[in-house]
Every structure is written in C-alpha cells, then in structure tokens.
Symmetry: C2
Subunit: 727 residues, 2 copies
C-alpha cells in the first residue's frame, strides 16, 4: 500500500519531540546544582532510584522473555498469531520502560537544581521544574509516535493481510507497554508509599518532626520513591495510554471503513495525525509558559493554565482541519466527537478539583471531621471518594453516547455500520484528549520534581523561605494538573471501550486465519472476518443473559477489587517494616533526634526496594492470568463479560480511590495551613492518618487500576487465538 504523504508528519513530530526533549534536558543540566550538601543528597536519591529501577527492570525482563517465548510458540508453532507479534510486544515494553527511565533520570537531576533556583526566586524554580517535566512529556509522546511510525511502515511493507491485520498486530505493542506500565506503577507505587507511610507515621505522628527532615531515616527512601513511583511509573503509564488510544482507534478505523479502500487508510492514519499535530501544539504551549522575574503565584498560575488551555483549544480547532483535509467521511461529526471528549475531560478535571481541593466543601468537611478524630476523617473521606464517582461516570456516559452519535451521524439504531463508525468516534475522542500529552504531562510530572526539590531543600537545611517556594510550586502543579488528570482518566475509559471492540476484531482475524466460519444473522455461513458485530454477538451468544457473560462480569468486578487489595496489603506490609526500622534506629542510634547522630538511610531504601520487587509480581501476573483463564474456561462470551465488568467497576473504583486519596491529602494540608487547630493539633494528627491511608489509594492502587483495565483487554486481544481454540 502507498503510505500517504501526510503520514510522514508522524515520524517528523516524533523526532521534533525527542529533539526538543533533549534540548530541554541539556539546558536544565547547565543550571547549578547548589551547595555540596544539596549535591550529596541529590546523589543519594539518584543512586537509590537508579538502583531500584535496575532491579525492577530485571524482574520485568524475565516476564517479558517468558511472554515473548509464548507468543513465538503461538505464532510460529501453532500459527494462531501474526509472526510480528513477539517483536511488537517487546518494542512496546522497551519503549515504555525507556520513557519512564528518561523521565526519572531527568527528574533526579532536576530536583537539586530546582531547589537551588528556588533559593533565588519562585519563577526560577518553576522554569527548571516545568522544563524538566516537559522533557518527560515530550519523551513519552516522541517515543510513542516513533514506535507507531516505525511499525506502521514495517508492517505496511511486509504484512500481506491488509490494514485490519496491521492495526491489530500493532496493538500487541500496546500489550508490551501495558505490561511494563503495570509493573512500573505497581512496583513504584509500593516502593514510594511504603517509604512515605513509614516516614509519616514515625516521623510526623510519633516523633513530631517535619516532612523530609534529615533526622528521619526513611526520608531518602521517600524521595527515591517519588521518583520511581510518581515519575518513572507515570511515564510508563502515560506512554501506554497514549499509544493505546492511538492504536485502538486505528484498529477501529480499519474496521469501520473496511469496505472503502482509500478511506480505510485515512481512518487509520487520522488518529496518528491528530497526535502528531498535538505534539507541535504542545511544544507551542510549553513555550507559552514563560514567567517574568519576580512573578507572583498568580502570574505563575496564569502562565501554566495559559499553556495547557491554549494547547487544548488549538488541538480542537486543528482536528477540524486535519479531518477536513483528509477528506474523511463525516469529518465534521468526527471532529465533534473530539470536542465531546475534550469537554468531558475538562468536566472530569473540574469535578476532581471540586472533590479534592480544600477550596471546596467536600475536602473542608473532611478537615473538619478531624476535630472528632481519625475515624470520622476516614469515614468522611471514603464517603466523599465514593460520591465523587458520580460526575465522572455520568460525564463519561454522556461522552460515550455523544462521541458515538456524532461519529455515525446520529443513527440511533445500533446496526452494524452505525456501530463500527460510532465506536471509531469514541476512540478518536480519546485520542483528542491525549494528543496534547506533551504539555499536560509536563504539568503533571513537574509536581514530583518540585516535591523532591522541597525534600532536597529541607534535608540541606536551606531554610523556610526556599521550602515555602518549593511548596508553592508543588501546590501550583496540583491546581493546573486537574485538567490533565481529567483527560487521563476520561481517555482511559474511552480507550478501554475501544479495546473491547478491538478484541472482537482480533477474534475474527484469528478465526479467519484458522479458516473458521461464522453463521450470520441471515443464517448464512460466512468467513469470520466478514461478520458484523451483531452477527458475532449472536453467533457467540454474547448476550446479557448468558451465564458465561454474567460470570465473566462478576469476575471482572472482583479482579479490580482483588488487585487493589493485593497492592494495598503490599503497601501495608512494607510500611509496617519501615515503621519498625525507623523506630529501631531512633531507639538504637544515639543522637538521631538531636541531629548529632546520622541515620542509616540505606537500610530504609533497602526495605522499600525489596518490598516493591517482591510484592509487584503477584498482582501483575494476576492481571495477565485472569483474562487467559477466563478465556479458556468461559470462552469469548466470558471474556467480553470480564472486560465489561472490569471496566465499569474498575473505572469507578479507580476514581473513588484517587479522589479519596487526594481529598485526604488536601484535608491535611488545610489543617497545616492553620485551620481547626493547625499543625500539631488533635485535628492535625487525625488528618495525617487520613493522608497516610490515602497514600496507597491515590498513588498505588488507584493509578494501577487504569492500567489493569487496559492490560486485561490487551491480554485478551493478544491471546484471542487461544480463546478461539477453546471456544
């Protein structure tokens, strides 16, 4: 097939993104790192982080080798899979890991530099932290587009089965990325929260010393954790989301326009082009974030919002242009699908903000509950978190219906062609939401950098002033990150839905390869690949009264809870060990609390590393095993039930956990700002308990769930060949 000229925008965008990332990295490295003490501490954190990452990659490597062998056997031994799959899978994992690695490397170099710049001014700190965040944002999108472009070119030349086959094969590299991301999020999440919870319980509650105090033995581990969990984990995670949305939409495009030669190709490259244009707009947005010397918080906030909002508005406008120039069928409707997605992202972001910021009632009430003790703080936090699921879910519901209907020209009847066109619209809405990831991720990733800069400042005893500035930077990030978070959450749901549809296509291809037929609704025997969705659903009895579907849905819902339970338990266990170790050091090493003895930071780093490495394996393997087992026992109907159950309840659970955790965090901050008794008061201790419980909610279990949902779909897709044999 001739690759259209427009496609080449994709590799160009990729190279530009990576080039810009490199140049930002270089310019950050040129800044001074500060006092010898600052350099020393940053060195500790960097070495700890790298040491952990090496351990994590070792474990992941083994898993990847095993999976790649299985795929090779399936592809070359039994012929139930495309021969490119093992390679695509490996590159996805590799690039996802690389995105996390680069992000973390940058972050660990940037923290001392940010703290050093913050010694002079607020805007100096912002510039370094934000540009370093941008390195991560641009690396993720650059590597994502690179992988997509290269594979598209390769498969286009070598895969004889056409675009449907090409796009579903490319989805396999999504599975690689998801697997890597899950390990990164779970491992990093356990690492960081074990250290954080342990440090808080003994340091803040028992010994009454401030956060990041150098007297706390767990403080280096805590700072390492911010890097491996919040930075490396987030990088791998969003790499997966970004590629997943583009690839699943491409696959749906290939199906929706299968009957039309040239249009099909256009539908496949449209999501890639939107993403490519998004890269340029992100870079434009990043340059909009500039601050004057001596800027106030207000100026900085304005500047950051300007960057993200302008990028979002421009990508909305650009979508109309891209789809019009492609002359794709119903370009106007599809563009409105993208608008729907963007609007949903903004609403979800605002709702998240409302439920988790202490500028609003819900979080204020949690703070107030601190007056009656930690139990009421926990009860109110859980209540608030659960109620906060309402707006995001309803919004996603409306976005699904609208992006579906816009894309198929408001055909309410769910017939075969209306269905596949509508599903393509849902996918493209997700792509729109993630297309400006370059900048939204920058505002997200700079949070942990500012946080670490604060840690560095505290440990280097740079004084209140600097710490205030880094705290302000951190708070700033939390405020602007709302929209970015809304986009990330919303697009995860839409992408998961698109993956559901891709699963059906993959099953059809697997059947086509083994020469299986399907009896369509008219009663004719047809090649599986020509079956419409209603044909498929009827043939495999995928209806809501089929007990296999229902049992699958039950297991899907349970899987989300089980997974969270495992990760929560892991954090709990590791945190207990950490608490015991810190208490031991306070007891046994003389003069720690007086500042005359040196704590043994290394042993705490060791505890987190070992816990993370050990505890990440079971939940991650479970996520891979469940869809395979369900597929073998309950067949295709069971798998679809599993994915729908997992998606609906996993998404809701993820929103609940993220928001409850965020609200507890800010409720504590509100008390620390002097409300309800302020620091050291009864309410403060009560809200610290809330914050501590919220830590694994918002930074371990919650974010991992979004990957879990998609990984289960990805595994089902890649293993479709196996399910077909068993069905």
């Amino acid at each position: 097939m001739n690759i259209p000229i427009a496609f080449w925008l994709v590799p160009i965008a990729s190279v530009v993104a990576l080039g810009m990332a490199y140049s930002f990295f270089r310019s950050m490295m040129k800044a001074e790192e500060g006092t010898p003490r600052m350099i020393e501490i940053a060195g500790h954190v960097r070495r700890g982080a790298m040491a952990y990452l090496k351990q994590q990659y070792k474990v992941v490597l083994i898993v990847f080798i095993i999976l790649a062998i299985i795929f090779s056997v399936m592809a070359y031994g039994f012929g139930v899979q495309n021969p490119w799959v093992p390679f695509a899978f490996l590159t996805g994992g590799f690039f996802s890991g690389l995105a996390g690695f680069f992000g973390m490397k940058t972050a660990t170099y940037a923290s001392a530099r940010t703290a050093n710049a913050a010694r002079k001014s607020l805007d100096g700190g912002l510039k370094i932290a934000f540009r370093s965040g941008a390195v991560m944002g641009l690396t993720v999108v650059g590597l994502g587009l690179l992988d997509i472009a290269v594979w598209f070119i390769i498969l286009n030349y070598f895969d004889p089965d056409g675009l449907i086959s090409i796009t579903t094969t490319m989805l396999t590299f999504g599975m690689g990325a998801s697997t890597q991301a899950l390990f990164a999020r779970v491992g990093g999440g356990i690492y960081t929260k074990a250290a954080d919870v342990g440090a808080d319980i003994v340091g803040k509650v028992e010994a009454d010393i401030p956060e990041d105090d150098p007297r706390n033995p767990a403080t280096i581990a805590d700072n390492v954790g911010d890097n491996v969990g919040d930075v490396a984990g987030m990088g791998a995670d969003l790499y997966e989301s970004y590629c997943g949305s583009i690839l699943s939409t491409a696959a749906l495009g290939a199906v929706a326009f299968a009957a039309t030669g040239e249009m099909q190709l256009k539908a496949v490259i449209a999501p890639m082009l939107i993403a490519a244009v998004g890269v340029f707009l992100s870079i434009f947005g990043i340059y909009l974030v500039r601050t004057k010397e001596g800027a106030t918080m207000r100026d900085l906030l304005h500047s950051l919002s300007l960057g993200t909002n302008v990028s979002a508005v421009l990508i909305a406008a650009a979508t109309f242009g891209i789809l019009y120039l492609l002359q794709i069928d119903n370009w106007l409707g599809l563009s409105f699908s993208v608008i729907t997605g963007l609007a949903a992202g903004v609403i979800i972001g605002q709702a998240t903000e409302y439920y988790t910021s202490h500028s609003y009632k819900p979080t204020q009430k949690i703070s107030e509950a601190g007056l009656t003790g930690s139990a009421t703080v926990i009860i109110k936090g859980i209540g608030t978190g659960m109620m906060s699921t309402c707006i995001p879910v309803v919004t996603i519901g409306v976005a699904i219906m609208l992006s579906y209907l816009c894309a198929n020209g408001f055909v309410m009847d769910m017939n075969a062609s209306a269905l596949s066109q509508g599903l393509y619209g849902i996918g493209i809405a997700a792509v729109g939401m993630l297309s400006t990831l370059g900048i939204t991720l920058a505002t997200d990733a700079y949070g942990p950098i500012a946080d670490n800069a604060g840690g560095n400042a505290e440990m280097s005893e740079l004084g209140e002033e600097v710490r205030h500035r880094t705290d302000a930077l951190d708070a700033l990030g939390n405020t602007t990150a709302a929209t970015g978070k809304g986009f990330a959450i919303g697009s995860a749901a839409l992408t998961a839905l698109a993956l559901l549809a891709s699963y059906i296509e993959e099953v059809k291809i697997a059947m086509h390869r083994s020469g299986d037929i399907i009896v369509n609704l008219a009663g004719e025997e047809i090649d599986a690949i020509n079956a419409t969705i209603p044909d498929f659903m009827n043939y495999f009895q995928v209806n809501l009264m089929n007990p296999r579907v229902l049992v699958g849905a039950f297991i899907g819902a349970m899987a989300a809870f089980l997974f969270c339970g495992l990760t929560m338990e892991a954090v709990g266990r590791a945190a207990q060990k950490m608490v015991e170790e810190v208490r031991r050091q306070f007891r046994e090493i003389k003069g720690i609390l007086e500042g005359t003895g040196t704590p043994d930071y290394g042993s705490c780093v060791e505890i987190s590393t070992r816990a993370a490495q050990h505890e990440m394996i079971v939940p991650s393997l479970l996520a891979i095993a469940i869809p395979i087992v369900v597929g073998c026992v309950l067949g295709i109907a069971g798998v679809l039930g599993l994915l729908v159950g997992g998606l609906s309840s996993g998404f809701t659970l993820a929103v609940f956990m993220a928001n409850a955790g965020g609200a507890w965090d800010n409720a504590k901050k509100m008390v620390e700002e002097g409300n309800f008794g302020g620091k050291g008061s009864f309410a403060h201790k009560a809200t610290i308990v809330g914050d501590t419980v919220g830590d694994p909610f918002k930074d371990t279990s919650g974010p991992s769930l979004n990957i879990l949902i998609k990984l289960m779909s990805m595994v089902s897709i890649v293993m479709a060949g196996l399910t077909v044999i068993f069905s």
Copy 2:
C-alpha cells in the same frame, strides 16, 4: 386453573410458622425481666426504638402512597400495567415492615430477660435469646409465605392472562418489600452506627470508659440502634430476600415450562413448596437447639451448629423428594442445582469466617498492624476486605454455571430453551439456600439480642460475670452465623440474576399488552410474548458493544458506589454531631464521669432519630429513580446494562465492605483479649479506629447494597411498561 393439592402446604406452613413464633413469644414473655433498674433500662430502649420506628414508617408511608398512585395511574390510566400491581406492591411493603416490627418488639422485650437469665447460667441466657431470635425467623418466613399464598390464590382466580402474568405481578410485591427493606436498612443502619461510632469515639477512646457504660450519654441510643438497625432492618431485609427468591424463581418457572400446561404450574409452585418444607425443617432444627443445665460454651456451640446443619442437610434431601413427587421434568438435575447453591453458601460462609475471625491469619495481621498505628490498621483492613471478595465471587460464578447446567441437562449451547431452563435452576438454587431461613435467621437475630442483654447488664451494673456470659453468647452467635451469612449473600446474587431474567419477561408482557411485536431471529414478526431470550436480545440490540449497554453498566457500577458514599457520609455527619453532644455533656453536666451526675440520654436518641430520618431519604429514592431514568434515556438495553453493572460491582463492593468491617471488629476484640498490649494499649486505640470505621461498612452500607441491587431490578421490572413506551 385448578390449584394442586400440594400447594396448600404453603399456607399451612405459613400458619404453623406464625403460630410457633407466637408461642415462643409468649414463653419468652413469661420469663422475669430482672431488677427494677434492668426493667427501667429495657423500657428506655424499647420506647426509643418504637418511637424511631414510628418516625421511619411515617416517611416510608409517604413514599409508598406516592408510588402506589404512580402504579395506579400506570395500571388504570395508561393500561401499561397489571391492575393488581398497586395492591401487591402495598402488601409487600406492609408485610416486610411488619416482620421487622415484630422482630424488634420481641428483641426489646427479650434483652433484659436474657440478661436476667444469664445472671443464673449461660444456657438459660442462650435459651431465651435464641428462642426470641426464632420468633423473628419464623415471623419472617410465616409472613412471607402468607403473602405469597394469598396472592397466588387471588390471582389464580382473577388474572386471566395465565401463570406468566400471575408470577410477574406477584414480583411487584417484591418491590414493595425491597423498598421497605431499603428504608429499614438505611435508616436503621444510619441510626445505629451514628450512635455506635459517637459512643465509641468519645467513650472508649477519649474518656477511657468501657462499652455500654451508663456514664456514656450515647449508650441508650447505641442500644436502641442495635434494635432498629440490626433487628428491624435485618427482618425487613431477609423478608425481602426470602420472597424475592421464591417469586423470581416462580416467574422463571412459568417461562421455562410455558409450552407445557401442567408442568408449568408445577414449576411455579415448586419453589414455594421447597420453602414450605423448609419451614417445618427449621422448626425441627430450632427444637434440636436444647441445652443442659450448666452447659459449657463448647456444648452450646455444638447445639447451635447441630440445629442449623441438620436443617440444611434435611432440606437438601427433601428437595429431591419434593421435586420427584411433583414429577417435574429433570427433577434430578434441579435437585442438584439446589445442592450446588447450598454448597456455595457453605463455602462463602467459611470464607467469610476465614477473613473476619481472629482465629485466622488475615484478621490477626490487622490486629498486629495496630502496633504501628491506626493508619496501617485501616490500610490492612481495606486490603483484606478487597482480597476477601475473591472466593465468594468465584464460588458464585461456579454456582451459577453449575446450577444452570444441572438444570438444563448440561446443554452447553445457550439456546433459548436451555437458557430458560438453566435460569430456573439458578433461581431454585437460591430458594434452597433461603428455605431454612427460619432457623438461620434465628441464629443471626439472637446476636443483637445477646448484645443488648450485655448492654442492659452493663448499665444495670450486674457485674463482670453476667457481662462475660452475655459476651460469650454474642461471640457464639458470630461463629454460628457464618453459614447463615453465606446463604444470605449467595442467594442475593443468584436472586438478582433471576430478577434480571424476570425483567425481560416483564418487558415482553408489557409489549404483549400494548400489542407490540418483535422481529425474531428468523426475521418473522411475532407477538412479543413468544420471543425467546436470544430473539429479544437481538431485537433490542442488547449486546455488549451497544454503547447504551456499556453506559448502563458504568452507571450501575457507579450507583453502588454513590449509594455507599451517601450512606457513609450520612453516618459520618451524624456521628460527628453525636461526638460533639457527648463531649458537651461531659463538659457541661457535672459529675457524669464520676457517676454522680446523670447524662441526658434523650438528646442522643434524638440526634440519631433525626439523622436517620433525614438521611435515609436521598439514597433510598436514588435507588428507585436511577433505573427509571436510565430506562427512559437508554431504553431496555441501558436497563439491562445497568442491572448487570450494578449487580457485579455492587455484590463485590458489598462483600468487601461487610468483610472489612467484620475483620476490623474482630481485630479489636483480639487486642481486647490481651494480645499486642491488650486493653488500653497503643494497639487497642489503633484497632478501635478500625472498628469504628468498620461500623458503617458492615452495618450500614454493606448490607444495604444487597437490597439496592435487588431493588433496582424490582423497580425495572415494575416500571417495564414505562421503558417500553420510551424504547
């Protein structure tokens, strides 16, 4: 239609159950109530409970009147509903309320008498408490069978549309029962937990006085709460489960055997007969629970287990007999469906026991986490609760598949007739699990009675010895209740599934009434009532890729979380008020803590009453409104998605909340038994926080969820006529 002679066993069983309940009640009333102080306290609690119940019934009455008017308009105004529906609905609500009322009346009379008997011996206390629990158990099954029998006789004479119409109309009284049950569980749950949490936080944690101490102003409210929440709420709840399982199975039987005249009638009355025989076996089991003078704990435990286990084994055996004598098609397979259900109940019960009893690792670990503070207790408890969902869900999954396959003769193909016969098997499995409710509820309901007896003993200052005995009785109940709980949880899931199928039948009837046709899979236009499930699913495009189904599933999952969030928040708010009031009294009324001043119990009762009355309205109405709104906006496909999403995620959430709450409760008890520092230690305070958070988990939100799931199905069924208009 001629009612077969066997049917008359149902009203006979009902009358026998009610007669036995009355005789147990009389004999309990003959026992002495104890010292004047004991009588006075019991009087306080009784009056408080009755006063609250009156308030609750007033609110519920208004809701019932409004709903009955709506149903009347639908039935008589628009003709989209059976004219008997408004009446059936009202009787269901009335009887469900009555079951709760009688149970509570008995419990409030029994508590002082139990305490008084426990002054002499352990077995004396057991006898009174258990027989009083049996009053509730037998009242629930007696009233349930009475309502079913009367309506079946009436409709059999007056409804011309045959058994399918009769059975689905009868389901309406299930909606009445569910509505009443939801208000009772939510209102009662908020009442009791507001008082309990408030009493614990100030009394146990802050003022260091024991549970139920008369110096605590919230103590009467706490004891009232046990009655209105745990007794009246549970009574209404299980009345609903009991009737729901029988009615939905009867409805499925009418459909599965629609083609066969006489067999259809047999299939309809079979679940009623199993329940009727279950009544006699329950009474037999109750009489097996007899103890010798001076019996040890071991003897008592043995005696209680004997009663419940013998009843369960006998009902399993009896089912073979009943179905054989009825000469129902595939009687052997259907009997094995019942065995499957019973086995599932036992497994779920054991798993619940494993995760919540401190004889096992999970709860022991939560206790141990107390050593590192309340945050780790909460984290571990949530982790354990989430992981504990695995076994119940997998068990239910296996039970669904097996009871389905046993009932249809292992036809793996989900064709129309295999499907409806299999679904009938799932329903009958649920009936088997609940058929011995007479005795299992007795072991459940006697727990709060023993608990209240303990409260009475403490407040009357009867001395350690008596309190120890009542605590032992309470602990005993917790141990034997495991199987009963397993049956209740498992049957709820299976019944909800049966209701899902009933919804489809109701839609078909509604369409039939308005003369709508359905195009079947062969492309022919047929009367809706003759459509098979696959026809129906294809015609309404109820497949898993239809965005309406998916959005429905999302909303269903969210509804469960929202509902829990609302009830958690309600408890949190009310508990805070309670804490403030108790603190105020400690501060302002002189000599309370020294025992010289009298606390103002009334103001605490008032706070709980007002909070419950006020806070139960929104969550309850939401449960009714959501399916109606979804039906109008997303049509039949959306409703089915909603119910599946709500069922799968609501069930899992309910298990999580119940088990986490139970585990926290027992983790605290373990510390109180002298482990990890014992009473008053750091670990004790930490585990009390866990227990306090667990209170609304296990006694408000968790149990309400089971009703919510079924109420949403019931509302959908009753409102099917409306959905048809909008679809």
